[in-house]
């Protein structure tokens, strides 16, 4: 019996190994053929051209800019909302809002993409007078909304875990409630909040379907109003019809994305562990 259960436990490790090995084995050939420097630093992606070019610098930069933008919008709003839910709001109000935020977290990503496509894209087109509203800006807003729930709930948990005595001491010394929240509670919860940010980064950089509907998917060098292609959408757009070197290049993009994600996971684990110990 124990052997069977051991097998079940081991299978999680096996899955991770299989995924890693498969991604490396199928991602390396194309990198070797294209050349690592040309692949990572090439400024042009034209996989179906007569003389195909496989430079994923635009994709990498778009993913970084898009994630940074989403964090820049999502984290302050999410953090303030977490302060509201954890400290300011009356218990009953928080009790109503929290499940609604949970619902926001559960809505399938493709639904966000649909709403973004129907609301944001026309809005961007009209406001900035561009030919197509599908842009980095629209993707950033969609991503920011999508990472909000995880940022809110993780920071709220961290804020709630701050010992009550810290806050009472601060209040007794004459600080106002607001000062206490931002200058005592927030610093005390900082590794939990950092974990929330890293989790947000992970979710934003890995999202594919929602932004595929609003990004426009042309592999331009990123600028706020132009149509862009992320690492994830780079895979998603061409996976269905690609072949040969083009297909292998997609697996190479997958490998790059996987490496990004693994780095983020390691950082996240460090913060979570520190949070548990501290």
């Amino acid at each position: 019996m124990q052997l069977i259960f051991f097998f079940c436990g081991f299978i999680a490790i096996a899955f991770v190994l299989v995924i890693t090995v498969y991604l490396i084995l199928s991602g390396l050939p194309a990198i070797r053929e294209i050349g690592l420097a040309d692949f990572l630093l090439g400024r042009e992606w034209a996989s179906t051209a007569k003389e195909p070019k496989f430079g994923i610098l635009p994709l990498i930069l778009t993913s970084i800019y898009g994630t940074a933008g989403a964090i820049l919008i999502g984290v302050p709003i999410g953090f303030l909302m977490a302060v509201f839910l954890a400290k300011v709001a009356p218990r009953r109000v928080a009790g109503v809002i929290r499940p609604v935020v949970d619902l926001l977290a559960g809505i399938p990503s493709i639904v966000y993409g649909l709403v973004g496509l129907m609301v944001l894209v026309p809005f961007v087109r009209k406001t900035f007078n561009t030919a197509a509203g599908e842009s980095l800006l629209a993707s950033i807003v969609v991503l920011a909304v999508m990472i909000l729930p995880s940022i809110i709930s993780v920071s709220e948990t961290a804020l709630n875990a701050v010992p009550r005595a810290y806050e009472e001491a601060s209040l007794a010394l004459g600080a106002t409630e607001i000062e206490t929240y931002f200058r005592v509670s927030a610093p005390a919860a900082k590794s939990g909040i950092a974990a929330a940010v890293v989790l947000g980064v992970g979710r934003a950089i890995g999202e594919a379907m929602a932004i595929m509907m609003v990004a426009g998917n042309v592999a331009n060098m990123p600028s706020l109003l132009s149509s862009v292609r992320f690492l994830t959408t780079g895979i998603a757009v061409e996976l269905a019809y690609s072949s040969g070197l083009q297909r292998q290049a997609l697996f190479s993009i997958g490998l790059v994305l996987f490496l990004f994600i693994m780095c983020i996971n390691v950082i996240l684990n460090v913060f979570l562990k520190r949070d548990k110990e501290g």
Partner: protein, 298 residues
């Protein structure tokens, strides 16, 4: 003395202007941010329901689409979603629960436990587009399953495994040690003890894990788009037998949404599917919360 008292009273009552401004601004920011989130959420829900509900009907939910009869329907997608959920759970449930049992009941080697937990966390952090790649590579191509429901279900097994392991593990940990000792003291073997005492008292957690896994499966689109395909036709397993499951392909609800929105530009129907998805999400959230509070009480 009185003078001193008066002074201290003053410092308590009147904040310096800069502190006052700080307090005011921060409080305003908190309310503004919360207002934005709540407004956004209300807008999202209202907009989706406003666009989606009018074209929602029983026929749309159950019928198979037909160009000849001019019928639009997501009946096949509803069924495919169900099939994929069932097939995934059949495989992932024993694996996940087994892994959790190993971690909490059997494992003695601390390093191995840490390795398994790290692997679980890693699986949970991998984005779905990578799973889509892996599904295409491993199941559709290397194992020659092709674009089928079974290839999609197996990919989802890897994806939902961390959810099942984690929730089961949490609830196994809440089973009091005295239950185990009592059972072992009465002479039962370890497996008998787990089967008759530990598992039944942690059934809530396992069910919660299933519900969360179903939530992920229903919301998943990237994996299924590339491993199960976009066909909107009905799969008739009753007539063709169960083995046709291994060769059948077809869209689930979230893939159907993608097809309506991006391939056919039929946005009203896409919103109708979105309404269905949101209602399912709501039910799943409520069910998980209900079981969660029940779990805490026992």
């Amino acid at each position: 003395m009185a003078d001193r008292n008066g002074n201290s009273q003053q410092t308590v009552q009147a904040l310096s202007p800069s502190r006052k401004a700080y307090n005011g601004v921060m409080r305003a920011l908190i309310y503004a941010a919360s207002g934005i989130v709540v407004a956004l959420l209300l807008f999202l829900l209202c907009y989706i329901f406003y666009r989606g509900v009018p074209s929602l009907s029983l026929e749309f939910l159950t019928a198979e689409e037909s160009v000849v009869k001019d019928i639009q329907g997501i009946g096949p997608a509803v069924l495919n979603t169900l099939y994929v959920i069932i097939a995934t759970l059949i495989v992932v449930l024993p694996l996940g629960v087994g892994a959790a049992i190993y971690l909490t009941e059997y494992a003695k080697n601390r390093r191995l436990v840490a390795a398994i937990e790290f692997a679980t966390e890693t699986l949970a952090g991998i984005p779905s587009i990578i799973y889509a790649l892996v599904g295409v590579l491993v199941f559709a191509e290397s194992l020659r399953l092709g674009k089928t429901l079974i290839a999609g279900a197996l990919t989802l097994v890897i994806m939902t495994l961390p959810t099942i392991i984690r929730t089961t593990q949490e609830s196994l940990k809440t089973v009091p040690q005295s239950y185990r000792e009592g059972s072992l003291g009465l002479g039962s073997g370890k497996w008998h003890m787990i089967r008759t005492v530990v598992l039944p008292s942690s059934i809530d957690g396992i069910v919660t894990g299933c519900i969360l896994a179903i939530g992920r499966i229903v919301g998943e689109s990237a994996v299924l788009l590339y491993t199960v395909g976009m066909s909107m036709q009905m799969q008739d397993f009753f007539r063709n037998g169960l083995e046709s499951f291994f060769s059948a392909s077809g869209s689930t609800l979230s893939v159907a949404l993608y097809v309506y929105a991006k391939v056919r530009a039929d946005f009203d129907l896409a919103f109708s599917v979105a309404v269905v998805l949101i209602v399912i999400t709501l039910v799943i959230n409520l069910a998980a919360k209900f079981l969660g509070t029940k779990l805490k009480k026992t």
